[in-house]
């Protein structure tokens, strides 16, 4: 009974994580410029990865693997926002300007 409930929660977490990854990929492919794509992907990636890893940790149970999975979750939760911020800052200092509606009007 308890294992059934744990498996159900894990399945929900994994499916939700896949949904977040899908949203991030759609944002990456559809949004107009670098900053918008960064905005879509960093958040969706972190949440999706943490959800899927938490679900996998629940499935594998309280063994030594789970310690590694917790380490991975904290690694991703710390490094991924840092990398996103570094890239956005680098793009700004390199002179990339954010997209506005006027950009679309000029190109037409």
């Amino acid at each position: 009974m308890i294992t059934l409930a744990v498996n159900a929660v894990a399945a929900l977490l994994i499916i939700a994580g896949c949904g977040f990854f899908l949203a991030g990929s759609i944002g990456l492919l559809r949004l107009p410029d670098f900053y918008c794509r960064l905005h879509a992907t960093t958040k969706c990636d972190i949440v999706g990865a943490v959800f899927i890893l938490a679900g996998v940790g629940l499935v594998s149970g309280a063994e030594l693997d789970s310690v590694r999975i917790v380490a991975l979750i904290s690694l991703i939760a710390i490094t991924s926002p840092t990398a996103g911020h570094a890239l956005a800052r680098a793009g700004w200092h390199a002179g990339y300007r954010p997209w506005t509606r006027e950009d679309d009007d000029e190109s037409e």
Partner: protein
């Protein structure tokens, strides 16, 4: 349960392929780097899923090292975009 894990794995691989088109098409260098970063995160998750499905704990260590390397790559390429050259180690006094 194993079926769901395989399904999530295949889904993530297809997703990564979709992101690969942005690496190829991306008009500017930062676009490509963002897409590569996303693929790196997906790869970490895929490695963990493979480790659990195939019951091989060593894949989790591979995923840890891969995550750290992908983070380092993002920082170094960010510096390359910002200054136009790669960071150098400080010379010892």
């Amino acid at each position: 349960m194993s079926g769901l894990l395989w399904g999530a794995l295949l889904f993530l691989l297809v997703n990564a392929l979709a992101c690969l088109t942005r690496v190829v098409l991306g008009p500017t260098l930062p676009d490509r780097i963002v897409a590569a970063n996303v693929i790196g995160t997906k790869t970490v998750v895929v490695l963990v899923l493979l480790g659990v499905v195939l019951d091989q704990v060593i894949w989790l260590d591979v995923a840890l090292v891969y995550g750290l390397l992908s983070f380092t790559i993002s920082l170094v390429v960010g510096r390359l975009i910002e200054t136009g050259r790669l960071p150098r180690l400080e010379k010892a006094p």
